[in-house]
């Protein structure tokens, strides 16, 4: 199946400062994206920005789908100005997915910042597991989807760097506190995480210390998104792997941080 398609913007609304929720209506039926999958979007047809930008699947609406994004530079700035009716070229869904857990598996989800974009779709999918969700952001204003999570019956454990909501501190420290205080948490738990690099590095250390297994979704600059340019590699115990092809989801213990 040819994964290149055109999509109409049906909604592109600002939900918080610099944060937007984009709803796209594909011109053709696309493969159902799974949590962890991503799309390459061309924000416009000019030569600068030139390359498509990668974005995680945030919510699948049956035919349409949503992307949750932050204005981080030129490309996302242009994207934030796209209006309903505008057309975008998209390739996807791409990459691997978070492996599905068995319903009896105990699961801890961890999202940092925009990492909530894919973790939200996973939280929705794994609802039956009655997972714990740890969600951290810099400040209250950057916490997204709280109401949507609540309407799914999910009460996240929240931390903000500045303490404006939930615990004050970084989310991995809060997770660590939970793990030390609650010995039951330490057994048979799977971690599923997405977030900024410092968070994932801290999480890798925690996972090693408490002997927890799990998966995390990584980011890397991309050009093709299809596995051909070899531009998006990360270092693993088995050598370099492509985030767009073997990833973006990797086993936590597999990643070698420099």
């Amino acid at each position: 199946m040819n994964r290149l398609f055109k999509a109409t913007v049906t909604d592109n609304k600002q939900i918080k400062k610099d944060h937007y929720l984009l709803t796209l209506h594909p011109f053709k039926k696309i493969n159902r994206p799974e949590p962890g999958n991503f799309f390459m979007l061309s924000v416009d047809s000019s030569l600068d920005p030139l390359l498509k930008r990668p974005f995680s699947m945030h919510r699948w609406l049956g035919f349409d789908f949503q992307i949750l994004y932050r204005v981080a530079g030129k490309g996302t700035g242009i994207l934030s100005k796209r209006r309903p009716g505008d057309l975008l070229d998209v390739v996807g869904p791409l990459g691997n997915k978070f492996p599905v857990a068995k319903t009896h598996d105990k699961i801890i989800l961890i999202a940092g910042g925009l990492g909530i974009a894919p973790i939200f779709s996973l939280a929705e999918k794994l609802k039956k597991n009655k997972h714990l969700l740890f969600y951290g952001a810099m400040t209250k204003e950057e916490l997204l989807c709280i109401d949507e999570l609540k309407s799914l019956g999910i009460e996240p454990v929240i931390a903000t760097d500045d303490g404006t909501l939930g615990y004050k501190g970084v989310i991995t420290d809060i997770l660590k506190k939970f793990l030390t205080q609650n010995s039951k948490l330490k057994t048979q738990n799977y971690l599923y995480a997405c977030g900024p690099k410092p968070m994932l590095m801290a999480l890798s250390l925690l996972a090693r210390k408490y002997d927890l297994k799990g998966y995390m979704a990584l980011e890397q600059n991309m050009a093709c998104g299809l596995g051909t340019c070899l531009g998006c590699v990360v270092n693993t115990v088995d050598g370099y792997k492509r985030v767009c092809k073997e990833g973006p989801v990797f086993r936590i213990e597999e990643i070698v941080w420099e």
Partner: protein, 304 residues
């Protein structure tokens, strides 16, 4: 209208002039969902060496205005793995498979070319000479005409396949390098490889690529590439495969007018995975609108 789009590269005949640039099309399979590979002029695969290579540490790519810098570091699976794992897929198509290859030393080039020459299903070789020569203090094979002559003529001796030499643009006089390749026995030249560049993150004060420098590709380099094709065309008689920033049929036609017999699409595949087919259709439309019956008539037809 009967239109002749065919191209001759040495002994090799292409059904049309649209090729893929090495390193941007993987080993073909990755793009087969977007492109009917049988419709390409030829497929050029990612650069191979005798032994697999790890490549450079990340970050390896960074976008720049209308272009991108890459420092992949020639990561590849090695010739043996290519023959075993990738070539069988390509053999089911009836288009020529062109293998791009390189070495760290002249003897490695010779061994690599010899091995590829014996392999069924490979129709031409493209020598990447934009890589460092381990024996000669890591200077680039493709920047010193004496070294270029030596390595190309040695490879010429071990292969009877069409031999394409891919020139480095990081030289003062590209026509001298083109002439050198021709004199050493090349059947065709590819012009151009990436231009060495650098980008710095002013927030951290560090280079954006782990390798510090990388190769610039994409529309940003097109005028340089067109100029180099034109200079080579005035100097050599062997056919030129033009590349560097081609993303549309208009871009491709500029290269033909400057002197290219065929063209290759590189970074353009990343922007639009169907770029090669769109370009091929666009070339046909241009030819029929202009009443050009044979593509060969366009080559070098710039009116200076």
């Amino acid at each position: 209208m009967g239109m002749n789009l065919s191209v001759d590269l040495g002994k090799l005949k292409l059904q049309n002039p649209v090729m893929t640039a090495s390193g941007t099309f993987g080993y073909g399979k990755e793009y087969s969902e977007f492109v009917d590979l049988n419709k390409l002029g030829a497929i050029v695969v990612k650069g191979l060496s005798l032994k697999p290579r790890q490549g450079n540490p990340p970050p390896r790519i960074v976008e720049t205005p209308a272009g991108m810098l890459n420092a992949i570091g020639l990561q590849n699976i090695g010739i043996d793995n290519f023959i075993k794992k990738k070539l069988p897929f390509l053999k089911q198509f009836h288009i020529p498979v062109i293998v791009n290859f390189f070495g760290d030393s002249i003897s490695e080039y010779i061994k690599a070319a010899g091995k590829l020459n014996e392999t069924k299903g490979i129709h031409a070789l493209e020598m990447n000479i934009s890589c460092p020569n381990k024996q000669e203090g890591w200077s680039i094979f493709g920047t010193d005409p004496k070294v270029t002559f030596k390595v190309v003529s040695e490879v010429r001796k071990v292969t009877d396949l069409t031999l394409i030499v891919k020139l480095s643009p990081n030289v003062t006089d590209i026509s001298l390098m083109a002439k050198t390749a021709e004199d050493a026995g090349a059947d065709a030249i590819s012009v151009i490889n990436t231009l060495t560049g650098m980008a710095i993150d002013i927030k951290t004060g560090k280079p954006k690529l782990a390798n510090i420098t990388g190769g610039l590709s994409g529309p940003a380099i097109k005028p340089v590439a067109v100029r180099m094709v034109w200079e080579c065309y005035k100097t050599v008689r062997i056919p030129i495969i033009g590349m560097g920033g081609i993303i549309s049929a208009e871009d491709a036609i500029e290269f033909f007018l400057a002197g290219a017999s065929a063209i290759a699409v590189g970074t353009g595949n990343f922007i639009n995975p169907e770029a090669t087919m769109d370009i091929l259709e666009g070339i046909k439309s241009y030819m029929s609108a202009k009443g050009v019956k044979s593509l060969k008539k366009l080559t070098g037809a710039v009116r200076c």
